[in-house]
């Protein structure tokens, strides 16, 4: 049972310091960046894709929920090995839009974006499937991962937001 020693004072201070630093970072990210992985241009494409996947209607969509923050922070963490797939997928998506419509994806009107995705070139399908999966995770997953702001999807589904969800064992992203 030595592995499960009590929380030491040193450990407590480490956690508290990380918590303070992380919340500062997150609040910056909410408004203007900085992105952990995306360039501002890439972020525009991903945010438009997320909104296509879960659009706003009588309930908020992926943009309001901040689903892109989930994807961005995981690309700097657990999804690190998908970085190049995102980078090249975004570039290919925008290139295909420029060829077809003369503009990158995010610049197209919403309905034209939808039409483009409904007739997506085969080569872009794996990339779009990946974005769908991650958008669903962010929007319908736990609010602690930043993609389901204010538990908006759970409110939409009508399931109670229980105040104690686990014993607050949040894990903070590692530095670097």
């Amino acid at each position: 049972m030595a592995e499960r020693s009590a929380l030491t004072r040193r450990r407590f201070l480490q956690v508290a310091a990380t918590a303070a630093a992380s919340s500062a970072l997150i609040s910056c990210g909410r408004h203007a960046g900085p992105w952990r992985f995306f360039t501002p241009g890439e972020a525009g494409t991903i945010e438009a894709l997320c909104e296509q996947i879960i659009p706003a209607d009588q309930d908020p969509g992926a943009t309001w929920a901040g689903t892109i923050y989930y994807i961005d922070s995981q690309l700097a963490g657990h999804f690190r090995k998908l970085q190049s797939a995102y980078r090249s997928g975004i570039a290919a998506c925008d290139a295909a839009c420029r060829t077809a419509h003369g503009q990158p994806f995010a610049e197209l009107p919403f309905d034209q974006q939808t039409a483009f995705l409904q007739r997506l070139p085969n080569s872009l399908q794996p990339f779009f499937d990946m974005v769908i999966t991650h958008t669903m995770q962010g929007f319908y997953g736990d609010a602690r991962h930043e993609g389901n702001r204010d538990a908006v999807s759970w409110r939409m589904l009508g399931i109670p937001i229980i105040p104690i969800r686990g014993r607050d064992h949040y894990e903070f992203p590692r530095k670097g």
Partner: protein, 547 residues
């Protein structure tokens, strides 16, 4: 340099190993219980929908860790994939004290008498190693009862006419019904079926000094916040430690089982929590690492007398890897079926486990555990995967669906197997498990019929739309992994004898799901626990010279 001698080394503190450690310690043996993972408690409960043993898109919550423990998965096109514990294809169970019992949904099924006599009941099947167990339901029944009372089971199986004979009722009453239960029970009765309160290794009343289930929605895949789920971590392992004879060592990865030139098993070598190589001499070695890792360890333990690994003279170690071919159906209703009362699964039928015309077996059918929102995003039946239509469906259907699923008993396949990968090594430099194989076509045929039965139940219950959920044709395993070191009386077609002792050895045992010949149409954990009680009782008696 070797450590002080012990009577027994038990490898793996999960369902099998936890029971073995307690039984041997209570018989007076000095036991080293080696566990590669950590000991989590209710304080580690972390209800993260994206990071748990059921949905591990951001990692798992009770091991093993992604950095040190890769495997290789070979798909149906013979393409090799290096897979990590949190990824699909890995067939992960867990790596922690309690093993899968820490985070399971906790269904507590006894197999039926026919499940131990599949070959005698149905005859041989081409392309399958379908066979009888060397033991019967009656051999196991007293130990099923012991597991039900010592670990703790709630439910009421008195209305199940298909169960094997039992001496006592379950020790705890069922949890109170949910809305799904109230909808499904009369529908099953109208169809002439026999629904009942399924058994769960879960406190419904205070038991063993722990409180009852608080009915939350985060159950299967999660550590229980109030410690109401009963596993080996909060029952038998603390009992083993209380004897003073059990030395539980965490973070210990066994490298190989050691043998003398004459073939006598002398102990194990393992990497401790600081990755130092240790040697632990022992009179007995018990492997309880679950079907994939137990087979891997035997295969990795090569010597002059055992060039292909221990117990593997006739190439049966790692063969017949099986889990369950889950199948069922989802029904959409025009009223709310969801009441947010966990754990969800609570009503079952065993009408279709056997006696289906033209089929060799079947499955228990039960309502599913609560689907957390992300687990429901693949639900729309019509190929709608994104956009407004998907969001509309989620909003309309999330609280109005019931899902009925069943673990279809698999026809074992010789070529569904665990091997050592020729090139990929784990963190410690040992060859990793390579998984390959497929489902027998008859398994898929049975699964299809089970899905139709589930669908009919939902339609009778008033579903306005239903659709089937069918298994894939790839090798299964996962949390129900079994079969890789099957028990048998003939050493040419099995790995261990009926007491779980590995053929060709005097003092090496495999006690976990690996020894299952077939895996029942049920969740296997109670059978693993019961067989561990049975095998270790025999082991303790023979240790004392009584057998």
């Amino acid at each position: 340099m070797s450590l002080p001698h012990v009577n027994a080394v038990v490898i793996g503190a999960g369902a099998g190993g936890g029971v073995v450690a307690k039984e041997l310690c209570e018989a007076g043996l000095r036991v080293a219980l080696l566990e590669r993972g950590r000991w989590y408690t209710a304080n580690d409960c972390r209800k993260d929908d994206l990071r748990n043993q059921r949905t591990s898109v951001l990692g798992n919550n009770s091991g093993p860790d992604d950095k040190r423990n890769p495997r290789v998965f070979v798909d149906r096109d013979a393409k090799r994939h290096i897979v990590l514990p949190s990824e699909g294809g890995y067939s992960n169970n867990a790596a922690c004290v309690g093993g899968g019992t820490l985070t399971y949904g906790a269904m507590a099924w006894r197999y039926q008498p026919k499940d131990f006599r599949m070959r005698s009941t149905y005859g041989a099947l081409e392309g399958s190693t379908l066979d009888d167990w060397p033991i019967s339901y009656d051999d196991l029944a007293p130990f099923y009862e012991k597991a039900e009372y010592e670990i703790g089971v709630s439910g009421d199986v008195s209305n199940d006419p298909f169960k094997g004979p039992r001496a006592k009722p379950l020790p705890m009453p069922p949890l109170s019904p949910t809305r799904e239960y109230e909808i499904l029970k009369p529908a099953a009765q109208r169809l002439g079926l026999h629904p009942f309160d399924l058994p769960m290794l879960r406190n419904s009343v205070p038991y063993n000094g722990r409180p009852p289930c608080m009915r939350c929605r985060w159950c299967v895949g999660f550590v229980c916040e109030v410690d109401a789920k009963c596993g080996t971590h909060n029952t038998v392992i603390p009992c083993a430690l209380a004897t003073g004879l059990c030395d539980l060592r965490l973070g210990c990865m066994v490298k190989e089982i050691l043998t003398t030139e004459q073939g006598k098993i002398t102990g194990v070598s393992y990497f401790d929590a600081h990755d130092r190589l240790q040697e632990q001499p022992a009179d007995l070695v018990i492997v309880s690492g679950a079907a994939i890792e137990s087979a891997r360890l035997l295969l990795n333990s090569k010597s002059r007398l055992f060039p292909n690994g221990l117990g593997n003279r006739f190439d049966w170690v790692g063969r017949n890897l099986q889990g369950h071919a889950y199948s069922g159906a989802t029904g959409l209703f025009d009223f709310d079926t969801y009441d947010d009362v966990g754990p969800g699964a609570n009503i079952a039928i065993c009408d279709y486990n056997h006696g289906n015309p033209g089929l060799r077996g079947g499955a228990m059918l039960a309502n599913e555990f609560i689907r957390l929102p992300y687990q429901a995003v693949d639900m729309p039946p019509n190929g709608v995967r994104w956009g407004k239509a998907h969001k509309d469906f989620m909003r309309r259907a999330y609280r109005r669906t019931i899902k009925i699923m069943g673990p279809t008993q698999e026809m074992p396949v010789f070529d569904s197997r665990v091997q050592l990968d020729p090139s990929v090594k784990d963190f410690w430099g040992m060859p990793v498990a390579q998984l390959s194989g497929y489902q027998h076509p008859h398994t898929l045929e049975i699964a299809g019929v089970m899905a139709a039965k589930a669908e009919a139940w939902l339609q009778e219950a008033g579903a306005i739309q239903t659709w089937r959920n069918l298994p894939g044709n790839g090798v299964s395993g996962g949390q129900h992994q079994a079969g890789t070191c099957r028990m048998g009386n003939d050493p040419k077609t099995s790995v261990a004898d009926s007491w779980c002792r590995v053929h060709d050895t005097d003092n090496l045992y495999v006690i976990d799901g690996s020894v299952h010949v077939t895996n029942g149409g049920f969740n296997p954990v109670l059978t693993i626990l019961a067989n561990a009680y049975r095998a270790s009782a025999h082991l303790a008696q023979s240790w004392k010279g009584k057998v």
